[in-house]
């Protein structure tokens, strides 16, 4: 028996070795193919983005008809970004809107989610399904009547029209996210605090809310991104130039260019690219700063499916 094994072992060994070698090289080739394919994908995906950045640094003469379209700037210049200076009042409007929304959307979502996540009360199931059913109402149906309503309330052409929605729970999806998150904390925390004489409001503000910082941050970032270049809301409600948000001001800038004639001047075209880069900066920065939290929030959303 033993000799048999000894005999067969050296026979089998080189065979399996060469097989291993073969699979190793095959694996390497496969890996190389994967890298090449991914690189190709990535290049295709980020090419427009890179082009936007490059063109924003080109001089207007470079983009004239006759000059072949090219990728790298030949006359590198920051001059195109000067146009952003014109929009400073609009930028302030946008920042006000963002500050209020990014603060109160997550806070009010936490407030509303608290009893649903951590208390039992009469009618809980009904309330929960009412909140969830509001997801189904398309905003397009509300577009015209909301406009009329805001006119009645005197919100028309005022910045308040852009942030008044932040105080009512911040939308069903945000409430749902917070409920999912709050359910994760042990129930004993509330009971211990209650024995110490805390009421529900104290429990919420001193114990639960501080623990929600991650989900608050996630919702706040989403709110910043949503309102940073929001177009539909400002287009409907903001009519005087001093009230325009940056996005809306850019839109009218572009529209004026279109209405002036059939050809957009080269100057304006490089300026548009500078604006585009400017618009992309905020979401990019937020993403790179809070990447882990963003992914965490997406994961929390993924569980619900």
């Amino acid at each position: 028996m033993e000799t048999k094994i000894n005999e067969s072992a050296p026979l089998a060994a080189p065979d399996s070795n060469s097989l291993q070698k073969k699979t190793k090289t095959a694996k390497r080739v496969l890996l190389a193919v994967k890298y090449v394919l991914s690189a190709l994908f990535v290049i295709i995906l980020i090419f427009p983005f890179l082009f936007m950045i490059m063109k924003s640094f080109m001089s207007a003469e470079e983009t004239m008809t006759g000059v072949p379209v090219h990728f790298f700037p030949q006359h590198f210049t920051f001059a195109n970004y000067a146009i952003i200076g014109q929009f400073m009042p609009n930028l302030i409007n946008t920042l006000i809107i963002i500050a209020i929304n990014a603060t109160f959307i997550p806070l009010s979502a936490c407030f509303v989610a608290f009893p649903l996540a951590r208390r039992n009360f009469t009618g809980k199931k009904v309330v929960f399904s009412v909140i969830m059913s509001t997801i189904m109402i398309p905003s397009t149906v509300l577009m015209i009547p909301s406009y009329i309503l805001f006119r009645q309330f005197g919100f028309y052409d005022k910045l308040v029209s852009q942030w008044i929605g932040a105080f009512w729970g911040g939308g069903a999806l945000n409430i749902f996210l917070v409920i999912q998150f709050m359910r994760g904390f042990p129930r004993e925390m509330d009971e211990a605090a209650r024995i110490d004489g805390a009421n529900d409001f104290q429990i919420f503000f001193y114990i639960i809310l501080p623990l929600c910082s991650n989900i608050i941050l996630f919702i706040a970032i989403t709110a910043v991104n949503g309102y940073w270049m929001d177009f539909q809301g400002p287009l409907l409600y903001l009519k005087s130039e001093s009230k325009y948000t940056v996005g809306l001001a850019f839109y009218y800038f572009y529209n004026d260019l279109l209405s002036q004639g059939s050809v957009i001047a080269n100057e304006a075209r490089v300026q548009l690219m500078a604006m585009s880069v400017f618009m992309s900066i905020v979401p990019m920065l937020l993403y790179f700063l809070f990447q882990d939290k963003m992914i965490g929030g997406i994961k929390l959303g993924a569980v619900k499916g």
Binding site: Y35, M136, V141, W168, N199, L236, L257, R269, V277, P283
Partner: protein
């Protein structure tokens, strides 16, 4: 007798105080819920009722003179005077866009996520770079695409400029492609540019894949299952709730597409005149027909509700794991 009575009343008292405590705690819970209810009544329920009322009038933003079902009649009136032709063209365009773009982006982002899922060195960088285009705001990407895809001849809505893509095409000896400048190619172009957003879907699928227990794959490997077998027996079924969720939200959001209006307007020859844009222009462009716009909104709502219900009725392919 007296003792029994006293005992009863003690019990009664106990029951009462428990009820009061219960009422109090319920009340506190509803105080927490109050913001939602105020918002829901004032900013959702009331506008919905308003919209319902206005859809039966000729309200123009200031006053109404007539009552009746003429708006709904106009919606289905295919004669020259009626709105049906316009509205159903918009609905058709919207459906075409939703079906093609969501299918394309769903399959592409899923395939992409499967591909990027492997643990190879540098995969994190690849993921971040893929997500980059999703971070460009719609307005900015609109500026960018009109620049990149510029076409030679000027039109009413699109300025003359020769973009990079057409320069490449002509350098290769091919004819220039009109992209957004032609009614026949604008929709195709819009869907094409949508592909650059697959990174967002990809990140979400990757998160969904992480929720699949790894021991399932280990067991499958022991049984010698092929890659395709694992894909169709483990990965797809176990991410099906997420696929379903994305189908529904994609459908609801897609049917209301409006953002394209910022840079592409209604498209060359109305080729991108989606229903949400039509609702907007019906109300806010002369002759300011708010009533009709409300009726159009209701038509869209009914369509969305019916399709969502239909999708929920066909969920037997969705795998919800153990029911508990």
């Amino acid at each position: 007798m007296v003792k029994a009575k006293k005992q009863l009343s003690v019990q009664e008292q106990f029951r009462r105080s428990a009820m009061i405590r219960r009422l109090k705690s319920d009340l506190v819970c509803y105080i927490f819920l109050l913001p939602f209810f105020v918002g829901a009544v004032v900013f959702t329920a009331y506008p919905i009722i308003l919209s319902c009322v206005y859809s039966f009038t000729d309200f123009n933003g200031a006053y109404a003179t007539e009552w009746g079902i003429f708006n709904f009649k106009a919606l289905f009136d295919f004669s020259l005077l009626g709105e049906a032709k316009n509205v159903f063209t918009s609905l058709g365009l919207t459906f075409l866009y939703v079906i093609v773009s969501s299918t394309v982006s769903l399959t592409l982002s899923y395939a992409f996520a499967l591909f990027v899922r492997r643990k190879i060195p540098g995969i994190k960088v690849i993921r971040v770079l893929c997500y980059l285009p999703c971070l460009i705001p719609g307005l900015a990407s609109g500026f960018l695409w009109t620049d990149l895809l510029g076409y030679g001849t000027a039109t009413a809505t699109r300025p003359a400029s020769y973009g990079l893509f057409n320069t490449w095409l002509t350098n290769l000896g091919l004819p220039a492609f009109p992209f957004f400048s032609d009614a026949n190619t604008a929709m195709f172009t819009l869907i094409l540019t949508g592909i650059w957003g697959v990174g967002g879907g990809m990140i979400m699928w990757l998160a969904a894949f992480e929720n699949i227990p790894p021991d399932l794959y280990e067991a499958a490997d022991l049984d010698g299952a092929s890659y395709m077998r694992k894909l169709f027996s483990i990965t797809i079924p176990l991410s099906s709730p997420m696929i379903f969720y994305n189908l529904v939200t994609g459908l609801i959001a897609g049917l209301q597409v409006f953002g394209t209006y910022a840079t592409y307007g209604v498209g060359e020859g109305g080729s991108l005149y989606f229903i949400a844009i039509r609702i907007y222009t019906t109300a806010f462009k002369s002759p300011y027909n708010f009533g009709l716009a409300c009726a159009e909104g209701w038509l869209l709502f009914i369509i969305i509700a019916a399709l969502t219900l239909l999708l929920f009725k066909t969920t037997n392919w969705v795998h919800y794991g153990d029911e508990n």
